[in-house]
Subunit: 248 residues, 2 copies
DNA sequence: TGAATAGTGTCTATAAGACAATATCCC
DNA sequence: GGGATATTGTCTTATAGACACTATTCA
């Protein structure tokens, strides 16, 4: 670890508590998946005051000599045993009153994970749930987002985590039409209907099937496997996979 | 200021320096403008070690009870006497080695300012310059971005500020086609050619004039003033203004 | 009058929405 | 065969690029 060296005036001033402060820097991760017609996020129930019983995003504090990205990956490993997931920085929250215990900065990340993996992560641990998100706005308007447990009860979110979830939904809606979001949220082989379901879950609205089909096939991100669905009670659909190129 | 109250275990651990740390949190602002066929940013020459003589973005440290947005606005006021500019959070940089003096977090912002205002801000102060950005990539590929002073000499950037500038360019390129970026970078009345020049400077490529014209007029963001340019040596163009709605 | 750019009209290519027709599986 | 969804084809509409043509100002 490089020795902190306060040779710079501005840097020295940071140690004067009346002028600058060194707030704790936390990492919160919105681990998202799509399924059942909507978006879902992994939540953790707080078992300490303040806001005991409310639900939060998996989070932790930045360790020495740890990059922000590494901290986010560590949080996901520690709270959900998830490795090698798509993870991207989202936004940094620093309102003075965002945490009642005192000033704290939260660097928020979002992760995209296939449904089964996230469902398993939630099921294996006490006090964790895969909550359905309730987005009260359309498109990329933005705003806070609520959460509902699988049995239908509303989950009260702690701190500003409904804002963080709102920012995450806004971000992935925006990325959907130029980034291969579906790759992260689907199994290796999937039908065009599966992919459309993911897009509709993310966007929160229905899409035109014909146009979606054409757009996806023309994008060059998909390649047919030659295999088809089985035992579906109707004509089985072709199974596709993402091309190597689109996985970046 | 709320009293910091370490009742939470995770919170308490932050005061254990072997496990967590409280890094200084800084704010850096990429104040951008478009003109002369390219993007420009306000830079400040460092007059202290380390990296004395290199150029940085205007920056400062977060004050107690100050929101991140407020800190960014304060930095712009202090270093460039700029108020009421478009200001948006960009990304947070936290690589352990990003600052040779020790671990520091930088929450980066970008601002969009009309050319004259930024030129004046640079001219009024010693050790500040309005530098032309050199973007070596196309579209939204991303990557570090260089800077060149008006007289053509390359300006060496300090710390990771070329990365921050790269992120800022990438962001505004992406926002250009759905947000009224031009509104921030043009005077109250402007021609369609002025607006196209701004778009071309941001994107770093030429645009089709006919299509640009149609697209802008159809967007509903513009309204004709009824006045025209004067003394231009050719047929004068209609002057437009942005509609109230698009200013949001 | 000529240089230079603004602004209009039209043609073509491409992408999206709508919808009909056919294909293929399971029961 | 009947139900259900996949897949293909066609038509229409909206938008972008290309280009020709006209308009208007200043030197």
């Amino acid at each position: 670890m490089p020795k902190t060296d306060f040779t710079d005036r501005a840097f020295r001033e940071t140690s004067d508590p009346t002028r600058f402060e060194r707030p704790p820097v936390g990492i919160d991760v919105a681990a998202l998946t799509a399924g059942g017609g909507g978006l879902h996020a992994l939540l953790v129930r707080r078992d300490e005051e303040p806001q005991r019983g409310r639900w939060t995003l998996p989070g932790g504090f930045l360790a020495p000599d740890e990059s922000l990205d590494a901290a986010a990956a560590r949080v996901l490993r520690a709270k959900a045993a998830l490795r090698r997931v798509f993870l991207e920085q989202l936004y940094t929250f620093g309102a003075p009153e965002r945490d009642p215990r005192g000033r704290a900065i939260a660097v928020a990340y979002y992760a995209l994970v296939a449904p089964e993996r996230l469902r398993r992560a939630a099921a294996e641990r006490d006090g964790e749930a895969l909550a359905r998100l309730e987005v009260a706005w359309e498109g990329e308007a933005g705003g806070p987002v609520g959460a509902r447990s699988p049995d239908g009860t509303t989950l009260a979110l702690a701190f500003d985590h409904s804002e963080i979830l709102g920012m995450a939904v806004k971000r992935i809606r925006g990325k959907l039409d130029y980034a291969p979001i579906g790759f992260q949220l689907l199994p290796a082989r999937f039908t065009l209907r599966d992919l459309q379901d993911v897009h509709e879950a993310v966007l929160g609205r229905q899409l035109n099937k014909d146009s979606f089909r054409r757009r996806m096939l023309a994008s060059g991100q998909l390649e047919a496997t030659g295999d088809r669905e089985r035992s579906v009670g109707h004509r089985p659909a072709e199974l596709y996979r993402f091309t190597r190129r689109s996985a970046i």
